[in-house]
């Protein structure tokens, strides 16, 4: 039963990605006038325009253009950057690794931290500690990520303290994990941006679980409170938080754009900003497909995780 449900979910994910590819491809069609000239600018030599027309298959029908482009994506051939003539894969390789490292560091800090805050505020429900935390998360949830990032720069890099670098510069070929200092402030920005959302959901679901009969039962059995909370309540309270966590991690795929720009962090987000400014469509399309792929994959994983941890869904017929 569950196998059929999982297959259906995977098929939906693939369908969504295919429709996404149509939208991303349409961006080139939407370029005003001749796409190659629009990308390269009016000063471009006819030879370069012709080469780009060839690369984007602009001389063929729209359907051929699309199928060629899709075939490229499926074989990890994203074409050449219109700005530097380098293959897009070569251009983005290190940057994808750097961005993945940034999101990874932010996630392994943000997820446990959110759970801790959620559980703690649920246990202190309606007491001053809960009210203060809820006000802080309400304020932080409203702040755009660049506001958080710039404030962190002013506090920890240039203004009050001089602990961390304000810009995340790396030597050519150096990876972010070889100089972890550059990751601290960008990761902290992402953490501060997502923790309010996850911890609020965690608090709500924890409160519901704490009021349930089986928690009362566990307490009546005389189990130590620590065990009641961490063995009985938390594993159940986490289930509704899985979906929100996936949404927040997927949000990071877009959040890195602004955060990397604030810190000049050498990742795909900063590359996307450059590419948009240069109308480097092959790079823009690749990064966009990547971000959408991450989103669809994370949601799929969250759905699967929810199915696996919820016995009712695991055995449900649908």
């Amino acid at each position: 039963m569950s196998g059929k449900m999982i297959l259906r979910r995977i098929a939906l994910g693939i369908l969504t990605l295919w429709l996404v590819s149509l939208v991303v491809f349409a961006a080139v069609i939407a370029l005003p006038g001749d796409a190659a000239t629009a990308i390269l600018g009016k000063e471009a030599t006819p030879a370069r325009v012709a080469a780009l027309r060839e690369q984007l298959h602009l001389n063929e029908s729209v359907v051929t253009q699309y199928t060629q482009w899709l075939k490229g994506i499926l074989t990890f051939d994203f074409g050449n950057s219109a700005a530097t003539q380098q293959p897009v894969t070569q251009l983005l390789n290190d940057r994808v690794a750097n961005s993945a490292f940034l999101v990874f560091v932010a996630s392994i800090v943000a997820i446990p931290l959110s759970i801790l805050i959620g559980v703690w505020t649920a246990m202190k429900r309606d007491r001053p500690a809960d009210h203060i935390t809820s006000t802080i998360t309400l304020v932080l949830a409203a702040l755009p990520e660049f506001v958080i990032g710039i404030c962190l720069v002013l506090i920890f890099a240039t203004g009050l303290f001089h602990i961390f670098p304000a810009v995340s510069l790396l030597a050519p070929g150096e990876k972010a994990w070889q100089d972890p200092q550059v990751v601290v402030l960008p990761a902290a920005t992402l953490v501060i941006a997502v923790v309010p959302y996850i911890s609020r959901i965690m608090r709500g679901s924890m409160i519901e679980v704490l009021e349930s009969e089986y928690v009362t039962m566990a307490r009546l059995k005389g189990l130590p409170e620590r065990q009641v909370i961490w063995r009985h309540a938390v594993p159940n309270a986490i289930v509704p938080a899985i979906q929100v966590t996936a949404l927040q991690l997927a949000w990071m795929a877009g959040g890195v754009v602004v955060v990397e720009y604030v810190f000049s962090y050498p990742g795909i987000g900063a590359a996307l900003v450059d590419a948009v400014a240069n109308r480097d469509m092959p790079v823009v399309q690749t990064v966009t497909m990547l971000a959408a792929g991450v989103y669809v994959l994370l949601n799929l994983l969250a759905d699967l995780a929810t199915i696996f941890v919820t016995p009712r869904l695991r055995t449900a017929t649908r």
């Binding site: 409203a142 755009p144 990520e145 660049f146 404030c151 304000a166 795929a253 959040g255």
Partner: protein, 312 residues
């Protein structure tokens, strides 16, 4: 028309009595302007008042700022990145223009672009959500599938995709920011309307032979005002963040315009020597989003209190 309104009111009263919802002083009043009651209750909460105060202050700065600015936003008043002086209270920016004057001139664009994007996105989202909830057939599936496609793009990336194709124009930002809100609003409104669609007064309106468009706008819409108001506030907060971010990345107003996002972009590299030209717009945008979020939270709390049905 008036007959159906009376029917609706009676039905609502009955529904209220059956469900134990507060039928209050005449359901007809509640039905007519439910949003007014929610607003009134929201204004009793301290957080709503603080939020309203903050938003009023920032909007006043943006609207009346140009009138009181000491210099032209494009005039050169000092050495680039020089600190505060008697001529320029907050110093000069990276090109030597007065930071305060550029700040006072730079708020309006973000405000109107965010407001326009919010109205556009929430308006379309409500329409799609209500039509999907009401149709309950293939149209519902198609609309929700289209929603999933838009949802697969992180909001800022979809806007950047459009900007890369169509250029950094304000209308592109209004439309695409609105479109990124659409599926999120539509999901909420569809969920809220699904209960309403099953109610008797909708069936009654169908039996009388009301047009579908009238049922969606006249019967469904007035009964989903509380989630609608919360969505408006929420999407406005996100719009401000998105529009300011796009402008901060350099794709909003173009130089030499005075704009909060562009100010941060132009001066961020000199943040060590001259923090004010970045700090002022950052503070203004941060305050504005916190303010709109406080108002939204107040409205959400008031809406729950009035509805009685929905539990937090």
């Amino acid at each position: 028309m008036s007959d159906s309104t009376i029917d609706t009111a009676v039905d609502l009263g009955l529904e209220g009595a059956v469900e134990g919802a507060p039928s209050g002083p005449g359901p007809a009043v509640l039905q007519k302007r439910p949003w007014l009651g929610i607003l009134r209750n929201a204004l009793r909460l301290t957080r709503t008042r603080i939020g309203l105060g903050i938003v009023t202050f920032v909007v006043a700065v943006a609207v009346f700022g140009p009138l009181v600015a000491p210099h032209s936003p494009t005039a050169f008043v000092g050495v680039p990145n020089s600190g505060p002086s008697s001529n320029a209270i907050f110093g000069a920016d990276a090109l030597g223009r007065d930071v305060l004057s550029r700040f006072l001139h730079g708020g309006l664009t973000i405000l109107w672009v965010s407001a326009a994007a919010t109205l556009f996105g929430v308006g379309l989202g409500v329409l799609v959500g209500l039509v999907a909830a009401y149709s309950r057939n293939w149209l519902d599936d198609v609309l929700m599938r289209a929603n999933d496609v838009v949802l697969a793009f992180p909001q800022i990336i979809l806007v950047l995709l459009a900007v890369s194709a169509l250029g950094p124009k304000l209308w592109v930002i209004v439309v695409t920011v609105g479109i990124t809100h659409l599926p999120r609003v539509a999901r909420v409104m569809r969920g809220a309307a699904q209960d309403v669609v099953e109610r008797d007064f909708v069936k009654a309106a169908e039996a009388v032979g009301e047009k579908r468009s009238r049922i969606v706008m006249g019967e469904l819409l007035p009964n989903v005002t509380s989630p609608l108001m919360v969505e408006l506030g929420l999407r406005m907060t996100y719009s401000i963040g998105l529009v300011a971010a796009i402008s901060f990345l350099g794709f909003g107003r173009q130089p030499p315009a005075a704009d909060w996002g562009l100010m941060m972009n132009e001066n961020r590299l000199a943040i060590t020597v001259q923090p004010w030209s970045v700090l002022l717009p950052v503070l203004a945008i941060g305050l504005l989003t916190v303010g709109t979020n406080l108002i939204t939270d107040g409205i959400a709390r008031a809406a729950i209190g009035i509805d009685g049905r929905s539990r937090s």
